[in-house]
Amino acid sequence: MRHIISILVENEAGALSRIAGLFSARGYNIESLTVAPTEDASMSRMTIVTSGSDDVVEQITKQLNKLIDVVKVVDLSEAEHIERELMLIKVRAGQKEREDMKRMTDIFRGRIIDVTDNTYTIELTGDGRKLDAFIQALDQGTIIETVRTGTSGIGRGNRILRV
């Protein structure tokens, strides 16, 4: 089962390697990992997408909580939540592809954020499946480069992760 784990962590040197190291040392999967400071600069928020049985995910959250720098851990996928990922995708867009590419971007509610003579760079946000679907929908030969941020997530309404 896929789980999205949100972590509040002290913004200390080495905190990321403690967390990444825990996953590799104990053989847990990391599908994606994103991290950046929060509105409180002394803390960072990390979103890790992982997969494993309920027992494994229970261990993951317990082991994360054990790390001294970790302030709070929550498994977002346990309840209502929202997830988003940002993708930048550079595609071939010469005269004959431009029209199609623009239409496809609109359908997926993406934005063309850079244009050169023969390329478009498209910005697209959504959950991972939407980004996958966009890639699938393109003529594979037109894709030059993709970069994805990995999933960020947040609980709905009263589900709040803060100190």
Binding site: V9, E10, A13, G14, S17, R18, G21, L22, A25, D55, E58, Q59, K62, Q63, N65, K66, I68, D69, V70, V71, V163
Partner: protein
């Protein structure tokens, strides 16, 4: 006092002042370039005594033995680079057994970090997976609070080693010194009280049990809950076992004690663990050497109550019915209060246990003309009247010591249970002797293990530590040989210890006493001579039966009741 507290000190002075504030008695260490300023400050004072080892691994094991036998935080001090890498085995050993320890490591100056400087290594990176916490102190202003945090983290919650990495320029830089009295960390607040509802559930299960069993481990030792454990066992009348890490927390000579569980546990204990209907686990972690194959263990329906301060120990290998996260003494006090007067009728269960016990699973050939290792340990127990601190290395001798030396007090049995570190015994014994001057300290070892930290014989001479080394010399890495006999078709690949030194001469070369014992009749007199001498270290080289094996034995991957007994062969 205030004047002193606010005066400007160098980082090195601050380190030493912090150690004084923590009432550290001994620092085990080895100097080097990056820690010279700290050594200079140690030289100028006499409150904190330094013990010079011969290898950094020895320093950490000694600090470890000091802590295990005294419940104080052990402290080691090593230099950067190779000083740290040599210390790694010691730190990992302490981590696996949750030993409170602060390891101060020198680091190259901050401006040189990352430039592959002489004796540079990424200490925080290397030690990260084997510490409870570690930190690189880049600013002298953070040094005092880092030291305070280190002692706090090491000794609270589930204890463990903490590494404080200090660059050389930080030890030279100067700042106002103020040692914080308390630590407040939003990310670290260990629990104490157990959940009241869970404790009530546990009480109900225990009160209705027909075949109860108490399984307690190193957590009882570490939290100094031995007295409470005894009270609980006595008031309920339940059978009890101590794991390798918990030996001595319940007296091994008491009838309610079933011996050790696990791979080399007793027949009665392993059967009771398997066939009980309510299992109360206290500060034990159901590890692979204790329960064998978890699927086999789970095949027998029973209710499991698990008390542990570390939530990640609960339901890790075995599904637990009633988890109680809390500090063991706090939880046990509650439990004892609520169980007052509860004394279920379990005579049928005891009858069954006595039938298992009648198997006498630890029996061995007492008529042997060659010295049996078990015989040496029985005699060691007799001669020391069961009162010695016993350290061990790792292998057959460790298991025989655990089986045959009946520990009645906690913190007397000092061994590397989790990591299984050969070479632990002798340096650990140094720490034990330092923490307990005048006490009888024996290091039970084998000819292979002892050679892994042999250099510490020199340290023992320098500090006049009258340790008694009980070397069970069968010229084999005995436990490796045993597995090769059972599981690898008697192919003794590289387990024979050829070209052994003359241990008597070796001991004498270091300025100690040595005795070679090769006849059963000489075992007791040699032990008596050695232990009567309170001043000198004795190296007792017992030439033992090469073919002896540790029984019972649960083969790897097998279930708890699938034991090989000596009579089966």
């Amino acid at each position: 006092m205030d004047r002193v507290k606010t005066s400007a000190l160098s980082g090195a002075e601050i380190v030493v002042r912090c150690l004084q504030e923590e009432a550290v008695e001994y620092v085990f260490g080895y100097p080097g370039g990056a820690v010279l300023f700290i050594y200079d400050e140690l030289f100028k004072q006499d409150k904190v005594k330094h013990v010079l080892v011969r290898h950094e691994q020895g320093a950490v094991h000694a600090a470890d033995g000091y802590s295990r036998s005294s419940q104080k935080v052990g402290v080691a001090l090593v230099t950067s680079g190779p000083g740290v890498t040599n210390a790694v085995t010691g730190i990992a050993t302490a981590y696996m057994d949750s030993i409170p320890m602060v390891v101060i490591t020198g680091q190259v100056p901050t401006h040189a970090i990352g430039l592959d400087a002489f004796q540079e290594c990424d200490t925080v990176g290397i030690t990260r997976p084997i510490v409870k916490h570690n930190m690189l102190v880049k600013d002298v202003k953070d040094l005092a609070s880092a030291m305070k945090k280190a002692f706090h983290i090491a000794s609270t919650g589930r204890p463990g080693p903490v590494v404080v990495d200090i660059p050389k320029d930080v030890t030279a830089a100067v700042t106002e010194f103020h040692y914080p009295e308390t630590v407040a960390m939003r990310s670290y607040n260990p629990v104490r009280k157990g959940h009241a509802g869970q404790i009530r559930k546990a009480v109900q299960l225990l009160a209705e049990a027909e075949r109860p069993m108490i399984y307690s481990g190193g957590g009882v030792t570490l939290s100094d809950s031995s007295e409470l454990l005894r009270e609980l066992v006595k008031s309920t009348g339940f059978p009890v076992t101590n794991t390798l890490m918990g030996l001595g927390t319940y007296p091994a000579t008491d009838r309610q004690f079933l011996g050790m569980p696990g791979m080399h546990g007793t027949y009665e204990c392993n059967n009771a663990m398997q066939h009980c209907d309510v299992l109360l686990a206290i500060g034990a972690r159901f590890d692979d050497r204790v329960i064998g194959n978890p699927a086999h263990f789970a095949s027998n329906p029973r209710k499991i109550i698990h008390i542990d301060i570390d939530p990640s120990s609960i339901s890790k290998r075995v599904k637990v019915d009633v988890p109680i996260v809390g500090n063991i003494p706090d939880v046990l006090e509650e439990l004892i209060k609520l169980l007052k007067g509860v004394h279920p009728e379990i005579s049928a269960w005891w009858k069954q246990i006595e039938a298992w016990r009648a198997k006498d699973c630890l029996k061995y050939d007492r008529s042997s003309k060659i010295i049996k290792p078990q015989f040496v340990l029985e005699k060691l127990y007799e001669v020391t009247k069961g009162k010695a601190f016993v350290t061990s290395d790792v292998g057959q001798h460790q298991m025989w010591a655990a089986q045959f030396y009946k520990f009645d007090e906690p913190r007397r049995w000092i061994n590397s249970g989790g990591l299984g570190t050969m070479g632990f015994g002798l340096p650990a014994a140094m720490g034990v002797q330092m923490a307990n001057p005048g006490a009888t300290v024996a290091c039970v070892t084998g000819e292979s293990s002892i050679q892994m930290c042999l250099q510490e014989l020199s340290t023992c001479k320098q500090y006049r530590l009258p340790i008694k080394i009980v070397n069970l010399n069968n010229k084999y890495m005995g436990m490796v040989r045993q597995w090769q006999q059972f599981f690898h078709g008697n192919r003794y690949s590289e387990s024979y210890m050829d070209a052994l030194p003359d241990f008597v001469k070796l001991a004498e070369g270091y300025g100690h006493r040595g005795l070679l014992i090769d006849k059963p009749a000489d075992v007791e007199p040699a032990l008596r001579e050695a232990f009567a001498n309170k001043k000198e270290l004795y190296f007792l080289d017992f030439i033992t039966d090469q073919t002896e094996n540790v029984y019972p034995m649960i083969p790897g991957g097998k279930g708890n009741t699938e034991m090989i007994l000596s009579e089966d062969l």
